[in-house]
């Protein structure tokens, strides 16, 4: 992924139109839209639709939860009967099947707990709309920590996602919950990344500012010893592939952690840390 995959602020791309037939009614939480011919819609895409309800225009921000394809056939019996079971059979007309998508509503502007109306056009969200969808525009200026890039489908991005530091550093809350598959390294990497961004954030604050944050990260290593090498460059980092993403997050040149202190449990009966694979710079504690 690189900048070329960013959803631009140019002319909006119309993806389709809201439909709410019986059984697929729109609600204040979700709605469906049929996809325009020649357009591809993917899960995770952020979408925007405007609807005039009771004379007031509302903008619905949402994320595509599921994309479905449906032929005009009522059953699989008809699908097979069309070809009489012959896989080589080519019907005289192209299929009149269609694609539709299910959207979870993330936010509505102005705030309203109501569904969008059928026949409302649905557009692919751009970067600023993506920020609005996730409430980033509510974050006080200077208080947003870029926390990764928002995926807008399989290959597109919709700019950086942001965390409100008031909810991370203790003003309103002090907790970050990261979920993911075990053993993939994604959760640890994300947490390291957040630590790294927090340090940058503090460094960039005015030294004389009374509100300057003092960040002292403490990382507990609970399995393997990967974290004993965070002051080394990542040998999987490829500038031609990865640098653009970092720059989208506001980091011009990613570097390893610096001035790191490493601690490991003291071995029994000797004043040495347990082996971590790191030859020097690890202090024993007990």
């Amino acid at each position: 992924m690189n900048r070329e995959n960013m959803t631009t602020e140019d002319a909006p791309v119309c993806l389709g139109v809201v439909g709410s037939p019986q059984g697929q009614e729109a609600t204040s939480k979700q709605y469906c839209f049929w996809v325009a011919r020649g357009v591809m819609v993917e899960e995770t895409q952020l979408v925007v639709c405007e609807s005039v309800i009771a004379g007031q225009s509302y903008t619905f921000y949402g994320v595509v939860e599921e994309v479905k394809r449906r032929s005009r056939k009522k059953s699989m019996d008809e699908e097979i009967d069309q070809a009489d079971g012959d896989t080589e059979y080519v019907p005289p007309f192209e299929s009149d099947g269609y694609t539709y998508a299910q959207v979870s509503i993330l936010s509505v502007e102005p705030a309203a707990l109501t569904p969008p109306c059928e026949r409302s056009k649905v557009y692919l969200a751009n970067q600023s709309q993506a920020a609005t969808a996730y409430g980033a525009d509510d974050i006080e200026e200077g208080n947003a920590l870029p926390t990764g890039l928002i995926k807008n489908g399989g290959a597109q991005l919709a700019g950086p996602g942001a965390i409100d530091l008031d909810y991370l550093l203790g003003v309103n809350g002090g907790h970050l919950n990261v979920n993911g598959s075990a053993g993939r390294g994604t959760k640890s990497s994300l947490l390291l990344y957040v630590v790294r961004m927090l340090l940058d954030y503090a460094r960039n604050q005015e030294v004389s500012s009374a509100n300057r944050r003092q960040i002292v990260p403490i990382i507990l290593n609970v399995k393997n010893y990967d974290l004993f090498y965070i002051d080394y460059p990542n040998n999987r980092f490829k500038p031609e592939r990865d640098l653009a993403d970092w720059r989208l997050l506001g980091v011009e040149q990613p570097t390893p952690f610096q001035n790191v202190s490493f601690f490991a449990p003291q071995q029994a009966k000797v004043n040495l840390p347990v082996p971590t694979g790191r030859d020097e710079g690890v202090k024993a504690y007990s």
Partner: protein, 343 residues
């Protein structure tokens, strides 16, 4: 008397949905209008040589110019919603319907709706009522988006006969919409769902390649041996062509699309083309009928969920579905009518 008061002032009452009733005063036999019709059964071959003609092997050339590219279908969906009474006591039904027509175009094997027209109409036999009252009613309907269709049938005490007259009136209006759809591009090979004669005027019978596909057979054209052949047709076989001469002269033949069914005449359609076109442009080359039959057979509906699948073809089914999607559910329309008219 103004607008919708016309209904109440003539004792209008609501009518619930009901099945068509038998005729009260006569046996309901419809005029077949066949008296002035000439037919020539021995048009393609003499009667003693009538036999089933297989068309499955009659594959038209890739560049055959007469392959239908447009498919036209119409729809008339509605019901009798009220009845009122003339001063003489005749019961007069009021029919509310949505009518429409659509043309599907074959664009590189993709069917696209290229024309549609939908109207909401109300039909009523008007002869017994003062014209100014009827006109006022028509204006009130117009303001609510309904077009009034005056029906000029003579009043009768047979409600069913009156009902059919109002239904025929809305069907006539639908035919006009179909003609409009056909007239858009009648020079392109076009297949129309139904007979060609009601669409006369929308195409040039000497030059336009228009085909009529008749799914419901109200009349019998064939001689006894021909009828026997009709029942014995296998899927992909046609009868020899015959000609019918009335207001419009057509060349016609039967084709069996589907053999699955319990009735011997199930799955058979009748095709017709303008005789002038066939003789002047096609030079009465009967391979044209074979190729056309082959194409129609290839386009046959194969689904089982569509009730008329055995006698329909896919492009016409799509036209019907596409048009139907533009319609409002009848009962929604009926309730709206009641609200406007305060019935």
């Amino acid at each position: 008397m103004k607008g919708f008061d016309f209904l109440k002032n003539n004792g209008a009452q609501r009518v619930r949905t009901y099945d068509p009733q038998p005729f009260l005063l006569d046996d309901g036999t419809e005029e077949t209008e066949a008296s002035d019709e000439q037919k020539e059964l021995a048009y393609e071959r003499s009667l003693d040589k009538w036999r089933a003609l297989p068309i499955l092997d009659c594959l038209p050339p890739e560049d055959w110019p007469w392959r239908p590219l447009r498919f036209i279908d119409g729809k008339d969906v509605g019901r009798t919603v009220a009845w009122l009474q003339t001063r003489e006591g005749h019961p007069m039904p009021v029919r509310l319907a949505e009518i429409g027509a659509a043309a599907m175009a074959d664009r590189n094997s993709q069917l696209r709706r290229e024309y549609e027209a939908v109207e909401r109409v109300v039909s009523l036999i008007v002869n017994p009522f003062p014209w100014d009252e009827v006109e006022s009613f028509a204006i009130a309907l117009q303001e609510q988006g309904f077009r009034f269709l005056p029906c000029l049938a003579e009043p009768s005490y047979s409600f069913e006969q009156m009902r059919r007259a109002t239904q025929n009136r809305t069907k006539e209006a639908m035919d006009v919409l179909e003609r409009q759809a056909l007239a858009q591009k009648s020079m392109l090979p076009t297949l129309v769902d139904g007979r060609l004669e009601p669409r006369m005027g929308a195409f040039d019978q000497r030059s336009d390649p228009v085909v009529g596909l008749i799914k419901t057979h109200y009349r019998t054209f064939l001689h006894p041996a021909g009828l026997r052949l009709l029942c014995e047709l296998l899927p992909g076989e046609r009868t020899p062509a015959f000609s019918l001469e009335k207001k419009l002269s057509v060349v016609s033949w039967y084709l069996r699309l589907n053999g699955q069914g319990e009735m011997p005449d199930w799955g058979i359609v009748r095709l017709e083309i303008p005789k002038n076109f066939f003789e002047e442009v096609i030079k009465a080359d009967f391979s044209y009928l074979d190729y056309l039959s082959h194409i129609v057979y290839a386009y046959r509906c194969r689904g089982t969920s569509y009730s008329r699948a055995p006698i329909s073809i896919y492009p016409v089914q799509r036209a019907e579905e596409s048009l139907g999607a533009l319609f409002t559910p009848v009962e929604t329309l009926v309730q709206r009518f009641y609200r406007y008219t305060n019935l």
